[in-house]
């Protein structure tokens, strides 16, 4: 249905370079997630793909066609926005129908597609309501329905779950995952939340300050981050970074994930004092101030009693310790 190629796309707003040369290939049916901190240019890149923003230079190719100067409506895309962006004066049915009517789709076909999409997203009871009469979750489902009926080559999502509360976010995330499985469509999804990225993506693109830091499958990024930024961004709680010099290592930085540290009251590599413990039931996060390694977060599975002030020893798993050089890149 739809592949996407981005070739050396740059975007500046006046003197500010927001995208500094993005190259990316997305194959047909793939679920790609752009993840990165706020303000790194994810939305801008998505808007360039959609044609809502002109790239300063570079090419966007959708399904083999160069679309760099094609208007958004002719690119064969559909977009779901963080703020839902439903037309306030139209009913749910007409919200979904508008784009098709504009494209001159026959009425019977429009009916058919709306019926199919509203069944898929359980929207039938609300078809004659206006957006103001729906809850946040329902509005976002309508917005997704509006994208589905267009049968686009490429779905674009810009932080679609950010305005929903936690429980609804999990449900809607599931719904989007199912939608992808059912439609087998190419989807590009923007989020700043690495959990969403890990759970939804076939392929994650980590962006930072207008550049791609790493592209890869979720487990690839988790197991072999290319640099300090990706290592710190993927995984929660965040990876611990220790200056190599403190441990007598030759590299600049040593990284070890909280879940790859074990603790013991008697013996271990790094002696430390418990500063705080967070009991989450399934696991416990312990913050340790170590003499040698500095402040560390340790994630222990299950319940672990650790009083603040107590002495604990932390030991890293040597097979899962990451080493980063002067330039921040991973060193094997």
């Amino acid at each position: 249905m739809g592949s996407l190629n981005i070739e050396n796309v740059k975007k500046s707003f006046g003197p500010v370079d927001v995208l500094k040369g993005i190259d990316l290939a997305v194959s047909d049916g793939e679920f790609v997630v752009f993840v990165g901190p706020s303000g790194c240019g994810k939305s801008t890149l998505l808007r360039v793909i959609a044609g809502l923003e002109d790239a300063s230079s570079g090419h966007v190719i959708i399904d083999g066609n160069e679309v760099t100067s094609t208007p958004p409506a002719k690119r064969g895309i559909a977009m779901v926005f963080q703020t839902y962006a439903l037309y306030p004066h139209l009913t749910v049915r007409n919200n979904m129908a508008l784009g098709l009517k504009q494209a001159g789709t026959p009425a019977a076909e429009i009916e058919k597609r709306i019926a199919a999409a509203s069944t898929m997203l359980s929207l039938e009871p609300y078809l004659e309501r206006r957006p103001a009469e729906l809850s946040g979750g329902q509005r976002q489902r309508v917005a997704i329905g509006r994208a589905v009926v267009r049968e686009p080559k490429l779905f674009l999502f810009d932080e679609p779950l950010s305005n929903l509360d936690a429980a609804l976010r999990v449900n809607t995330r599931l719904e989007i995952a199912q939608l992808h499985r059912r439609l087998k469509a190419t989807m590009v999804y923007v989020t700043h939340d690495q959990v969403e990225a890990m759970t939804l993506a076939d392929k994650i693109v980590v962006l930072n300050a207008g550049r791609i830091e790493q592209v890869g499958a979720p487990m690839e990024l988790y197991n072999s981050p290319a640099n300090v930024f990706v290592a710190g961004f993927i995984g929660s709680p965040k990876m611990n970074f220790i200056e190599g010099a403190r441990l007598g290592e030759s590299v600049k930085t040593i990284g070890v994930r909280p879940e790859h540290l074990t603790v013991d009251a008697k013996k271990g590599a790094w002696k430390g004092t418990v500063i705080h413990a967070e009991h989450l039931g399934a696991d416990t996060n312990i913050y340790l101030d170590c003499e040698k390694a500095g402040l560390l977060t340790v994630r222990v599975f299950g319940v672990y009693d650790a009083e603040p002030g107590a002495t604990l020893y932390a030991t890293p798993d040597p097979a899962r310790t990451y080493r980063f050089g002067e330039d921040g890149r991973a060193v094997k």
């Binding site: 208007p71 958004p72 977009m79 439903l86 508008l98």
Partner: protein, 279 residues
């Protein structure tokens, strides 16, 4: 408990201030209206008292209506006000949309240039405007007034509306673009309904000075056929004798249409505010 009494005394104080202001603001209007129903002697002997059975007299209204052309003056005022209002709102909203929505070279400068009009009174240009109208043969036409009032109303309209339009969600406009709506459809169907409260505010601010204006009708369109109501009422004010009954009656009548327009817009304003609450 104390909080309840506190808020009661606070709201009583607020009401007292608002009522006092209302009385002060409405007092001159009230005096005009009551005196318009009185005989000439009663107006001068006891201007503050409402008409009694003895002093009640409709002579003012009879004079005004007998003057015949008054209906014509009303119509002129109405045409000029409504047309100017229409053009101010249409062009003002379009310019405001362009300034707030599109990034183009000189955008800021253009906004500043348009806002400058708020600070410079258009009457300073009266002589030039008159020359322009004479040259284009528009003297003594309602068109001349409509053109001048549109120019007069645009700066403030653009200034206020641009501010409001920049608050309309970018996502909504972008959703429209992806659905293939033209920029005009996005403007008229998506953006305008959302800034309706601002439009109503601008309409009220624009309408009242136009309706009340004496200056430009006197200079640009003083002919019998194009006189506005404010200018028409002046004919009862003579150099030596003033027909106060007629002046007061004419002014009382002139309040009515503008009141009707105001009611229409203020209802829009309230509806806009309440519908905007559930976005």
């Amino acid at each position: 408990m104390s909080r309840a009494t506190n808020s009661f005394s606070r709201s009583a104080a607020a009401h007292a201030i608002l009522i006092a202001y209302t009385i002060i603001a409405l007092f001159p209007v009230f005096i005009i209206v009551i005196n318009s129903f009185k005989a000439r002697n009663a107006i001068f002997n006891a201007p503050m008292t409402p008409p009694t059975a003895e002093t009640f007299d409709l002579v003012g209204y009879r004079t005004v209506l007998a003057q015949g052309d008054f209906l014509q003056y009303f119509q002129n005022s109405f045409i000029v006000t409504v047309s100017s209002l229409f053009f101010v709102l249409l062009f003002g909203a379009m310019a405001a949309f362009a300034l707030s929505e599109y990034r183009f070279r000189g955008n800021k400068l253009m906004g500043l240039y348009l806002a400058l009009g708020i600070m410079i009174p258009i009457r300073l240009g009266t002589v030039a405007i008159l020359q322009l109208m004479v040259a284009s043969g528009l003297v003594n036409t309602l068109t001349a007034l409509v053109l001048v009032y549109t120019a007069q109303g645009l700066p403030l309209a653009i200034f206020i509306l641009a501010e409001f339009m920049s608050t309309v969600s970018d996502d909504l406009k972008n959703a429209g673009r992806i659905d293939g709506l033209s920029e005009y459809t996005i403007f008229f169907r998506l953006v305008l309904p959302l800034v309706r409260p601002a439009m109503a505010t601008v309409a009220v601010f624009t309408m009242i000075p136009i309706w009340n204006d004496l200056w430009f009708p006197l200079i640009l369109a003083p002919s019998e056929a194009t006189k506005t109501i404010t200018l028409g009422a002046q004919m009862f004010i003579g150099q030596y004798v003033t027909n106060w009954n007629a002046v007061l009656a004419a002014l009382s009548l002139a309040i009515l249409p503008v009141l009707v327009l105001y009611l229409i817009f203020s209802r829009q304003l309230i509806r806009g505010i309440t519908s905007g609450a559930v976005k």
